[in-house]
C-alpha cells in the first residue's frame, strides 16, 4: 500500500526542517529557558539553605540564651545559699565571740575582784595591825617603861598573828 512507502522528498524536507528548527530553538529558546530555570532552581535552593541556616542559628541563639539563663539562675541560687550560710556563720561567730568576750570580761572581773579582795584584806590586816599596835601601845605605854622593848615584843606578836 502506498501509505507505508516512504517518499524521499518528504523525508528530505523533514530532516532539513527539523534540524533548522532544532538549531534555532536551541539557540533562541531552550538555552535561555533552561538557564533561567536552572538559575531559579539554584536561587530557590540557596534561599532554602539560607533560611535553614538562619533557623538553625536562631535555634542555637535561643539555646544559648536558655543555657545562659539557666546558668544565671543556678548562680543566683548558689549565691543565695552561700549568703545564707555566710549569714549563719556570721551569726554563730558573733555569738561565740560575744560569749568569749563575756567570759573574758567575767574572768577579768573575777580577777579584779580577787585582787581587790586581796588588797582589801591586806589593808584590813594593815589597819587591824596598826589599830592593834595603837591599842597595844596605849596599853603597853601604861604598862611598860621601856618602849622599844615593848614594841619588839608587839611586832613579834603581830607576826605570829599574821602567820595564823
Amino acid at each position: 500500500m502506498e501509505i507505508i512507502l516512504p517518499q524521499l522528498g518528504l523525508f528530505f524536507w523533514t530532516t532539513v526542517l527539523f534540524l533548522i528548527f532544532f538549531v534555532l530553538l536551541r539557540r533562541y529558546a531552550w538555552k535561555p529557558i533552561l538557564s533561567a530555570l536552572n538559575k531559579r532552581e539554584e536561587d530557590i535552593a540557596n534561599s532554602l539553605a539560607e533560611a535553614k541556616k538562619a533557623r538553625d542559628e536562631m535555634a542555637k541563639l535561643k539555646a544559648d540564651n536558655e543555657a545562659l539563663l539557666r546558668q544565671a539562675q543556678e548562680e543566683r541560687k548558689k549565691i543565695l545559699i552561700e549568703a545564707e550560710e555566710m549569714g549563719k556563720q556570721i551569726v554563730s561567730k558573733a555569738k561565740t565571740d560575744a560569749a568569749e568576750a563575756a567570759s573574758k570580761e567575767m574572768e577579768k572581773a573575777r580577777q579584779q575582784i580577787e585582787a581587790e579582795k586581796r588588797s582589801a584584806l591586806a589593808e584590813i590586816k594593815q589597819t587591824a595591825a596598826s589599830l592593834a599596835i595603837e591599842v597595844a601601845e596605849k596599853v603597853l605605854r601604861k604598862k611598860l617603861e621601856d618602849k622599844n622593848e615593848q614594841e619588839a615584843l608587839a611586832q613579834k606578836l603581830i607576826g605570829e598573828l599574821s602567820q595564823n
Partner: protein, 376 residues
C-alpha cells in the same frame, strides 16, 4: 481543553471531511454515472501527503444546472530531480516540461504521447495511465515542498514564536514566578528535562535536553495540528517519522561508548560459539530500534485518522452516497458521538506518542553512552 472546544473542533473536522467527500463524489461530469463511494480509497487519499492543500469547497452549479462543488486548494509548486533540478509552478507548467502529476506522483511523459490526451480538471490531471503513458526508464525524484512539509514549516514557526516568547518572558521576569503561556509550558519543559533527559542520561543530560525538547514539542504540536481540519497529519507520514527516527539513530550511534560497540561486535562473557549469533542479533536490534520508533509513531497517528475517517465514511455508506438521507441521518448521531470519543483519545495519543518517541530516544542514547564495569 474544554468540552465545548473539543466539540466544535470535532464538528469542524466532520464538516471539513464531509465537504471533501462531496467534492470527490459530486464533482464528476454529470454525463457520467455517480461513482461508487470507496471508503478505503478516500481515507487513504486523505491520509497521504499531497501537493494540493485542499482548503474548502464552494458550492455552485455547472452549465447544465447540476449542483457541483468547486474545490479551493493551494496548489504547491513542484520541485524535482531528473538529470538536473527542475521547478514548476503547477500542472500546466509541468505538462509543458513533459511531466505529468497524477495522484501526487510525478511521471515523465513517454516520448510520443501528446499532452492533448491528458484531461485536466480543477488543476488536477484526470485519467492518466502510468502503465502506457509514462516513461518507465525515467527516475524522477520528487523533492517538492508538499502539504506535510509546509505544515511542518508552520508548526516550526509556531514553535519558534511560542518558545522564543517564553524565553523572553524568562528574561523579562527574571527571578519571578512564571506567568501566562510561560506557566503553561514550564511544567512540560521541566517534565522533559527531569523525567526524560535527567532520568535516562544522568549527568550529561544538559547536552541532550534541547534536542529532546525540540523533538517532543515538534511531534506534539504536529500531532495537535494534524487533528485540526484542513491541516495535514504530519506524523501520519512514514517519511516524516522515518526521518526523525534516522536522526535519533544517528544521535544514538554518535554517542556510542567503547563498551556499546564492543557489546555489538563481540558480546563479552559469552561462549565463543555464540558470539557470531549475538553479533547478528545485536546488529539487527540496532536497526530495529529506529524502525520501531518510526512505525510506532506513524501507525498511532494514522490509525487515529483512519478511525475518524472510517466513522465519517459510515455516513456516506449508510446514506448510499446521497440516495438515502434517512440512513445518513440515522447513523449521524452515532458517528458524531464515536468521532468525539476518538478525537478526545487522539488528543491524548498526540502527547503520549510525542512522549514515547522522546523517551525512547533518550533511553537509546543512555544505553549507548553506558560504560559497563561488570560483565555478564
Amino acid at each position: 481543553m474544554s468540552i465545548q472546544k473539543t466539540l466544535i473542533l470535532s464538528l469542524l473536522c466532520l464538516i471539513g471531511t464531509a465537504f471533501a467527500q462531496t467534492n470527490h463524489t459530486n464533482s464528476e461530469t454529470p454525463s457520467e454515472q455517480k461513482e461508487e463511494f470507496n471508503p478505503s480509497e478516500t481515507i487513504v487519499h486523505h491520509i497521504l501527503d499531497t501537493h494540493d492543500w485542499h482548503l474548502t469547497d464552494i458550492p455552485g452549479k455547472d452549465e447544465n444546472g447540476n449542483r457541483i462543488y468547486h474545490p479551493v486548494a493551494l496548489h504547491l509548486p513542484w520541485f524535482f530531480y531528473d538529470q538536473g533540478f527542475h521547478f514548476a509552478s503547477g500542472t500546466e507548467a509541468l505538462l509543458e516540461k513533459g511531466y505529468v502529476p497524477y495522484h501526487d506522483h510525478l511521471y515523465k511523459l513517454k516520448p510520443g504521447v501528446s499532452t492533448e490526451e491528458i484531461h485536466i480538471a480543477h488543476g488536477q490531471v484526470e485519467h492518466f495511465d502510468p502503465e502506457t503513458m509514462a516513461d518507465s526508464d525515467a527516475h524522477v525524484i520528487d523533492l517538492s515542498v508538499t502539504k506535510a512539509s509546509l505544515q511542518m514549516m508552520i508548526v516550526g514557526l509556531l514553535l519558534l514564536w511560542v518558545f522564543i516568547s517564553i524565553a523572553k518572558a524568562y528574561q523579562k521576569r527574571d527571578g519571578q514566578a512564571p506567568k501566562g503561556i510561560q506557566s503553561l509550558f514550564e511544567p512540560i519543559i521541566l517534565f522533559v528535562r527531569d523525567d526524560i533527559a535527567k532520568e535516562y542520561l544522568g549527568e550529561k543530560a544538559d547536552k541532550y535536553t534541547p534536542y529532546l525538547l525540540s523533538l517532543f514539542f515538534f511531534i506534539w504540536f504536529s500531532n495537535m495540528f494534524g487533528l485540526l481540519p484542513i491541516n495535514s497529519n504530519i506524523m501520519g507520514n512514514i517519511s516524516v517519522t522515518g526521518a526523525l527516527a534516522v536522526l535519533s539513530f544517528i544521535l544514538v550511534q554518535a554517542n556510542g561508548s567503547k563498551d556499546y560497540w564492543r557489546h555489538i561486535i563481540a558480546m563479552p562473557g559469552v561462549p565463543v560459539a555464540i558470539v557470531p549469533l549475538m553479533t547478528i542479533i545485536e546488529i539487527i536490534s540496532l536497526f530495529v530500534k529506529p524502525f520501531a520508533l518510526a512505525i510506532r509513531l506513524f501507525a498511532n497517528i494514522s490509525a487515529g485518522h483512519f478511525m475518524i475517517l472510517s466513522l465519517v465514511s459510515l455516513i456516506f455508506i449508510m446514506g448510499k452516497n446521497g440516495e438515502s438521507v434517512g440512513g445518513a441521518l440515522g447513523i449521524m448521531p452515532i458517528t458524531v458521538l464515536f468521532t468525539l470519543a476518538i478525537f478526545s483519545l487522539e488528543m491524548i495519543v498526540a502527547i503520549i506518542q510525542a512522549y514515547i518517541f522522546t523517551l525512547l530516544t533518550a533511553v537509546f542514547i543512555g544505553m549507548a553512552r553506558e560504560t559497563h564495569d561488570d560483565h555478564h
